[in-house]
Amino acid sequence: MVVPSLKLQDLIEEIRGAKTQAQEREVIQKECAHIRASFRDGDPLHRHRQLAKLLYVHMLGYPAHFGQMECLKLITSPRFTDKRVGYLGAMLLLDERQDAHLLITNSIKNDLSQGIQAVQGLALCTLSTVGSAEMCRDLATEVEKLLLQPGPYVRKKAVLTAVHIIRKVPELSNIFLPPCAQLLHERHHGVLLGTITLITELCERSPAALKHFRKVVPQLVQILWTLVTTGYSTEHSISGVSDPFLQVQILRLLRILGRNHEESSETMNDLLAQVATNTDTSRNAGNAVLFETVLTIMDIRSVAGLRVLAVNILGRFLLNSDKNIRYVALTSLLRVVQSDHSAVQRHRPTVVECLREPDASLSRRALELSLALVNSSNVRAMTQELQSFLESCPPDLRADCASGILLAAESNHWYKWQPGALENMGTSCWRGAVRKPSPFSRIRQVVSVYGSCLDVELQQRAVEYNALFQKYDHMRAAILEKMPLVERGGTQDEEAKESKEAQHSEAALVPTEPQASKLLDLLDLLDGTSGAAQPPPPLEPSSEGTSVHLLDLPCVSSAPASIPNLKVFEREGLQLNLSFVRPPGTPALLLIMVTAINTSEADVTHFVCQAAVPKSFQLQLQAPSGDTVPAQGGLPVTQLLRILNPKKAPLRLKLRLTYNHFGQSVQEIFEVNNLPVETWQ
């Protein structure tokens, strides 16, 4: 006696009642066995019920391929309930890779032509979901016939099936192109929506179609105009907006048609202005339409006034309390910030506000946008904002923020006005790196960029920072410790001494002479944090860990070892030192900073240093900081050499110095010996 199998409802109940995964599996396996048996020799009248159960089980992730043939049988049955489940099964279980799908082609063909709308609808739905290229080729003409049939129920589905056919077999576009013109006159929104989608698909695929459809721009404008101005039409209105889905679709098509085409863009201008100003923005539906309008305005050749309007709409979105809207606004502003920079600038304060968003995807976009908005007039204010953001931003944004600040400052030549600025930034980057070592290498890389800047102070600072980064990692915490208060003051002379001091001290710096103001600036920034001692900032879980962090620095694969400085020349008090940097990320590059310092009683004037390297190297000498090396250890003259060594050949360097000293003109030519191996390996 065959145990009557469960009805679908009961099966669902049983599955819900299963307490464990194993129990569920058991129930399902039992039922599948029933289903299989019933497929073999069961009652054809109830076959659809069995298949329905199988589909449910399939949705839960269990294998159901043995139901495929049943789908085919059910599809051929004359009863609608059978067909319904059969086609649904076909959509869920079959796919192009299996040969079974070809067998339904005939059924679909029959069903398409037999005139019962519901059945035709089913067939179209299935065809558009699982139709393979061959099936599409076979059935294209049937679908085309249905495009112009009277019933809109079928037509709307036929149009979208046409979209699928074109996607699978692009050559068939030409049979679906002619009916479009007539379909556009359709009043039925479903058909219209489908037609717009079809035209969009055609235009995206073929430039010829694009040209052809430019003719209908006036018609589209008219349709959209009617939608927007006929006020409250209950049929398709959502939150007071007439069929926002259709509006969005039309706007998208207008965007494609108006792109790079003056004439079409002109035709749309008034309409877009109308939609942009008159759409109700209190609910999401209106905002969706407005958003699409803005995207269209920015993409076509619209007049300047319209573009500014669009950007202002985005700016207004930024102030909206709905975070979804802020998200799309930030994304769109990012896209247009390059082309419409001044318009976006107006919204800078709002963008900066968005840095404080709790949602990481929003604050990331706000950060990118803020960095893009930095220019020479707002760089000071912006870097301050960004710096305070750096203190509190989530760890994964730190590296981008820090490097962004540095690059923005560089490209705006900000350092020319504020020599202390690089230190501020460098230090906050360094502090940022103390808390989270991983973006370290990038920060180092960026700071190395400064090593090749023209300004001498910047160069010096950058090379010093680089050296500090490299050599004194283990001392970072100590160096950044809060210093006991000392007098401000100090002269320019102290600068040189201070940098040497930083390089030679072993423990926490204890100043023995009047402090160089620069060093105090360095440490002044540490109000509130002092490296290892104090409780950790909220984002970093380990507390005493600062020292641990430092030792745990991730190995940057091309981490350069710190290369010792080299004193290469000394004559009558004039010394020449070389310091080397191999920036990570550019293995062939070597930066040499030549420093000339004069401890004698008389100035060295007309100082010129030239260099030569073997043929396989590329050498670039940057302009020196000056040509006078002042006496008694005054401000040294520095010059940066950039050497590219792609072949990693052993480095040889020849220097030629000419200068006046003690009333005599001196020329010295020598080769630098004892170049450390790390400079070229």
């Binding site: 669902i12 819900r16 329905a52 949705m59 992730g61 519901a118 739905c125 959502i238 999401n284």
Partner: protein, 143 residues
């Protein structure tokens, strides 16, 4: 283009799944688990759009059920957000105050409704009366 349409509850059980682009059976469960995980980990302050692999997810929560739609990047996120609500309103009208149980026990009807609204990844009909008309006729026929 809509890539998939999912209804998953908070425990990770899929109540409805419709794929408009082919995804292997075994990959589907994985995808659904990952999707629900990303949705569950969002707080109320975060927006409803997630960037997930090479598509975008737009989700809305109704009681214990998440409706998640995966789209490619040509779609207007806010329109899809509105569409999800439209779908739920249609279900609400058909089932008279729809609940998760209604969806579970009448899965085939929900599929019919969805098929009336989305064809091949494109929105085709959003008018409630028109969507439900064929279904109501069907119900009448089977009585």
């Amino acid at each position: 283009m809509i890539k998939f349409f999912l209804m998953v509850n908070k425990q990770g059980q899929t109540r409805l799944s419709k794929y408009y682009e082919h995804v292997e059976i075994n990959k589907r469960t994985l995808l659904e688990t990952e999707v629900i995980k990303s949705c569950l980990s969002r707080s109320n302050e975060q927006c409803s759009f997630i960037e997930f692999k090479d598509f975008k997810l737009i989700y809305r929560q109704y009681a214990a059920l998440f409706i998640v739609v995966g789209v490619n990047d040509t779609e207007n996120e806010m329109a899809i957000y509105e569409f999800i609500h439209n779908f739920v309103e249609v279900l609400d009208e058909y089932f008279s105050r729809v609940s998760e149980l209604d969806i579970m026990f009448n899965l085939d009807k929900v599929h019919i409704i969805l098929d009336e609204m989305v064809l091949n990844g494109c929105i085709v009909e959003t008018n409630r009366a028109r969507i439900l008309a064929p279904l109501l006729i069907l119900d009448k026929m089977s009585e």
